[in-house]
Amino acid sequence: MTNVIPTSQKHSGTGLRTLAEKVWDNHLVTKGEDGTPDLIYIDLHLLHEVTSPQAFDGLRLSNRMLRRPDLTIATEDHNTPTLAIDKPIADLTSRTQIETLRRNCAEYGVRLHSLGDIEQGIVHVVGPQLGLTQPGITVVCGDSHTSTHGAFGAMALGIGTSEVEHVMATQTLPLNPFKTMAITVNGRLRTGVTAKDIILAVIAKIGTGGGAGYVLEYRGEAIRALSMEGRMTICNMSIEAGARAGMVAPDQVTYDYLDGRAHAPRGADWDAAVAYWETLATDEGATYDAEVIIDANDLEPFVTWGTNPGQGVSLSGSVPNPADIVDANERSAAERALEYMDLAAGTPMKNIRVDTVFLGSCTNSRVEDLRAAAEIIKGKTKAEGLRMMVVPGSARVRIEAEAEGLDQIFLDFGAEWRFAGCSMCLGMNPDQLEPGERCASTSNRNFEGRQGKGGRTHLVSPLVAAATAIRGTLSSPWDLDQAGDQ
């Protein structure tokens, strides 16, 4: 990029910079002075129905224009049903919200992918699949899981509705510089252990506030070995550690994913883009404000027992005893969590029986996730009485999965095969848990009531979700092999 503005090299004093600092510097419109924030240019603004209506209203009230419709794109995801999408939305408040998005997009000239459109789906699945999410760009969306896009080496931030309006009006955001944290994952994952297990282990290690104020950069051999889908799963949950963003430096895996996608650069543009992308990796010798090291060799399938994503343990472990927790606040949080989850301390995680398995969400709903789960359940029988919902992340993912015959594998198994959307991740559309219902979910949040009032959530990988659907209790593919199931 030509618009690189030299910075004060605030972090290292050596001129050596991390990935996050480079992307930041390349988007500096004005440098803040005397405690004022930097003004950062935004390359891509993603919209959905829930956090945009009040922002459009704000624009209208102040007679402001949408500055860059050509850097803005919208989709319908949070609030939409995943059945009967050719019918009008039954819930009137939801229908109004969707219709409001459609009206706003028409009025302001925003590209919108509506229900029934092949590019409709979860906003964080749509951006990458279109090739709009690219290395070294800045991406924002009124959704905390915008961190997903950092997998490409983009600086991707979840923002609130006031900030959505700010980006609409100015294509910039005033932001304070972040601290940087390296999350180095050494070694190699064993078969049956996935990107989801890495990030659940990271959050359990640093806590839900451990990343506050930081941009996390995931690096190391185990991260390099991951597909783009796996990297997206990891960056997606950076917010669950309290971080503003998570990033992975782009490499050949990134380029191969992007090459040929609808909005990826072509020809000479591709070469120019790759030349820029190649400059992004953290300089050798650059320093981070903090570093965390994880050994992938030791990792096992991971699962949460409590009501925040930091309350996790290896699947081979047990529900912890709050009495063993030293910190008083964490101890009382654990006590509350066990009461809400209706779990007794010391219960082996594998003894926990679930009612529902949810495979979907912006964390794990890409075709690779569906493929991995389908491979486990193929030819197997679903546990009696258990409900399994499979919700592709986008209409395109659904079509790709159907072309591979994955839908038939899920249907033969007894799972429900749904249309694309956020679905049961957030308890806002018709897909919700009943009070007391227990779910193994590939989503990102196990907060109280997150998947429906009174619902109980265990966060798991797609592989654990699949194995659990077979056995009826929290399980990994390792348990299937050992038990010689079916």
């Binding site: 990029m1 030509t2 618009n3 004005t30 803040g32 405690g35 003004l39 240019y41 390359d43 891509l44 956090t51 009040q54 102040s62 402001r64 419709p69 850097l71 794109i73 949070h78 050719d86 919200q97 029934g116 092949i118 279109l130 709009l132 760009i137 959704d143 905390s144 979840g158 923002i159 609130g160 509705t161 006031s162 100015t170 294509q171 910039t172 005033p174 839900t208 104020g213 917010i239 669950e240 309290g242 503003r244 609808a262 909005h263 543009d269 120019a272 883009a273 925040n308 606040n329 009382s332 209409a395 659904r398 249309f419 957030l426 806002m428 949040r445 907060f447 009531g449 997150r450 009032k453």
Partner: protein, 208 residues
């Protein structure tokens, strides 16, 4: 936005950490397209319990919420701030905030002040022993006062200045519009654009 200098109001002790925005306002309330009218949604699930702190008569009309660490983590929903404001809170004090929540608060005239764990404990004890006690939160001096007790809170200088002046962020940024335009002139032509819309194929969704 109204200028914020000092607020005196009833302290509400919320003795919980990790209060995520799904607890502050559950997702079912996010279907509305308005910016106001969310007071009934605040802590909706917890309010079903008659013993929950804001259901108690002595804390009615509370304006200063004292919460545990990691308040406002999780979802970016600004509705969480709107619900707190609509209910009547002007101030939330906590040892640590979710980043996005803290940013949203500053845009809506909700003061999110960071206090130490020890001071949170002191204020909880005070508000529990003397329910209905009023605190004075002074943004100029960055203090919380009650009787002889003074506790300091932290807030970043820029947010504090904007709150004190009641300034609109977008208006401030647009003062730099010439610089934004100049920056746009240097952006590479190959950077992604959403328009014209391109698609990778003509497959159709079978809606059945």
């Amino acid at each position: 936005m109204q200028k914020f200098t000092t607020v005196t109001g009833i302290a509400v002790p919320l003795r919980r950490s990790n209060v995520d925005t799904d607890q502050i306002i559950p997702a079912v309330y996010l279907k509305r397209v308005t910016r106001t009218g969310f007071e009934d949604a605040l802590f909706a699930a917890w309010r079903l319990d008659p013993d929950f702190v804001i259901n108690k008569t002595e804390y009615q009309g509370g304006r200063v919420l004292i919460a545990g660490a990691d308040f406002g983590i999780g979802s970016s929903r600004e509705h969480a701030v709107w619900a707190l404001r609509d209910y009547g809170f002007d101030v939330v004090l906590s040892p640590r905030f979710g980043d996005i929540f803290r940013g949203n608060a500053g845009k809506q005239g909700l003061l999110a002040g960071q206090i130490s764990e020890a001071d949170a404990e002191t204020l909880w004890n005070l508000a529990e022993r003397a329910p209905g006690v009023e605190l004075t939160v002074d943004l100029v001096g960055k203090t919380v006062r009650v009787g002889d007790l003074t506790v300091n809170f932290q807030i970043d200088d820029y947010t504090r200045w904007r709150l004190l002046e009641g300034l609109d962020d977008i208006g401030l940024t647009l003062r730099d519009e010439a610089r934004i335009k100049e920056f746009e002139g240097t952006r590479e032509s190959w950077l992604p654009r959403t328009l014209p819309a391109l698609s990778a194929g003509s497959a159709r969704v079978n809606l059945q």
